[in-house]
C-alpha cells in the first residue's frame, strides 16, 4: 500500500464560486481592459461581475471587476497571461487596505525566520537553504511548502507561480524579503 497509490486523477467538476463577504476589486487603466478581464475570467469559469468603483477609487475608469479575493494570486496570473495587469487590487470591504508590508525578522543561531502577515519562512544564513515554512491557513500552504523546502531562496519556485491564494502571496513576500537579507553565495 503506497502513498497515494490508490488514487487516480479525476477531472475537477466544481467551478470556483463567489464568496460574497470576501470579495476584491480589480482596478484597470480603462474600461476596455475591464471588459476584456471580465471575459477572460468568465471564460475560465470564475463567477465575477463588473461594478462601479467606490468614490475613493475613481480615477477615470468607472468600472471595476469584482472577484473572490482569496484567489487573488490565481486571478492575477490568469490575466497576466492574457496581457492584462490591473493597476490595483483591493478588498471590497475596505478599498483603502493595502497588502501586508511589515516584516518581522528573527534569528535562531544559523537560521533566519521572516514573517509576512501569517506566513513564516526560515532559511540557513550562509547558504540561503530554506529549511522550514510555517503559518498560513489556505490549502495551498502545505503544497507550496513541500515544493520549496530543501531548495535555496534563489532556486525555490516562487509561491506566486505555484500557489493560488493570499497565503501563497504572503509567502512570496517573505521569500523576496529573505533574499534581500541574504547575499547570494558565489557559485
Amino acid at each position: 500500500m503506497g502513498i497515494l497509490s490508490v488514487f487516480k486523477r479525476k477531472k475537477n467538476l466544481l467551478k470556483p464560486e463567489q464568496s460574497s463577504a470576501s470579495e476584491g476589486m480589480l482596478v484597470f487603466e480603462n474600461t476596455s481592459e475591464v471588459i476584456k478581464a471580465e471575459r477572460v475570467l468568465k471564460d475560465a469559469g470564475y463567477n465575477v461581475r463588473v461594478m462601479g468603483p467606490p468614490p475613493e477609487l475613481r480615477t477615470g475608469c468607472d468600472l471595476v471587476v469584482v472577484f473572490p479575493i482569496v484567489i487573488q494570486l490565481q486571478v492575477i496570473r490568469l490575466l497576466k497571461a492574457e496581457g492584462l495587469e490591473p493597476v490595483k487590487t483591493v478588498p471590497v470591504s475596505s478599498p483603502l487596505l493595502s497588502p501586508v508590508s511589515l516584516f518581522h525578522v528573527k534569528e535562531f543561531g544559523d537560521f533566519i525566520m521572516v514573517r509576512a502577515a501569517n506566513m513564516k519562512l526560515s532559511f540557513e544564513k550562509g547558504s540561503g537553504l530554506i529549511v522550514n515554512i510555517s503559518g498560513g491557513g489556505c490549502p495551498d500552504v502545505p503544497f507550496v511548502a513541500a515544493q520549496m523546502i530543501g531548495k535555496t531562496l534563489w532556486d525555490a519556485p516562487s509561491p506566486r507561480e505555484i500557489g493560488y491564494t493570499l497565503c501563497a502571496y504572503a509567502l512570496s513576500l517573505a521569500l523576496e524579503h529573505g533574499k534581500s537579507l541574504c547575499p547570494r553565495p558565489q557559485a
Partner: protein, 298 residues
Amino acid sequence: MQEQLERERKSLTVVGTLPFPEVPVITGDVEYSNGIITISGRWTFPAQRGTAALLGAAYEVLKNHGGGLLRAVLAGDNGQGYGSRAIYRYLVENPDVIRTNVLVFHYLFPDVDWHGKIIIALEKISPRPILIADAGFMYVAKMSGQASLYDLFTPDVGELAFLADEEAPHPFYTRGFLLHENNRLFDLIERAYSHGNAAKNLLVKAAVDHIVVQGQLVATISEPNVPELEAIGGTGDTLTGIVSALVASRLEITDAMVLAAKTNRMAGSLAKPTVATPITNLIEKIPYALNKVLGGAV
C-alpha cells in the same frame, strides 16, 4: 459494546485537506505510525504539516489518554478550492458524518457561501458538536461574521492580528498597526472580541501562549520555552490536534487548552529541535510529553 459506546462518546472528527490534488473525498477512522497517517486502513499519507500533522498529534493523545474515536474527512486541494468545495458538499449531503462529540475544521479554502451551508447543516444536529476551527476555516468563520458560534479558535500571532482587524478579509490584508510587534497580545484579543470576531475560547499560540475564555485571559503558558517551535511548520497544527483530542476525551475546554499548550511545548522540548526539524519528530514525543505534564513536572 459498552466500550464502543464510550469511544463514540469521545469521538473527534477532523475535516481538512491534503496537498495532493488528485485525492477525492475520503472519510474513515484514523491511525498514525512512524510519520504516516492511515485512513480506514486503506489510504496513507505523510504527516507533514497541515491537517495530517493535526491528525498525528490527535491520534497520539487519544491513544494514550482518553481512548476516543478519531475520524477524518479529507480531500486533496492545492489551493484552487476544488477539494475543499467537494468536502463542503459531502458534509451537507451526508450530515451524519458530523455527528460527533468534537468537530474540527482545519486547512480548507475559505468560502463564505459554503460556510453558511455548513452552519445550517450543523443547526439540524442535536446535540451540536463542540466546534473548533483553525487555519482557513477560522478565516472564513471570521469573514462570515459568525466566529462567536465556535467554541474554540487556535490562532497564532499573525492570525490574531487578522481576527482583531475588523476590516481585513484575509491575514494578507491585516493593517500594519495591528501587526506591529509592540502590540500587547491581550489588546488584540480584546479588539477581536469587541468586533465579534473571536470564538468563545481562544488558545493563542505565541512565545507566551494565551488562554482566553469568553474574552477573559485566564492563563498564560511560557514554559518550557523553545523559541524554534515558531519556525517549524506544523507546530500550530499539533497544538490544535492535542487540544481537540483532550476536549473530545471530555476534558473541560479551559483545562484542555492549558494542558495542550504545556504538552505541545514539552514535546518540542523533548525533541530538542532546530529550526530545520520536521514536525514528525515532535509528534512522536507527544505521549511522553503528556505523561510528563500530567505527572506535574511542568
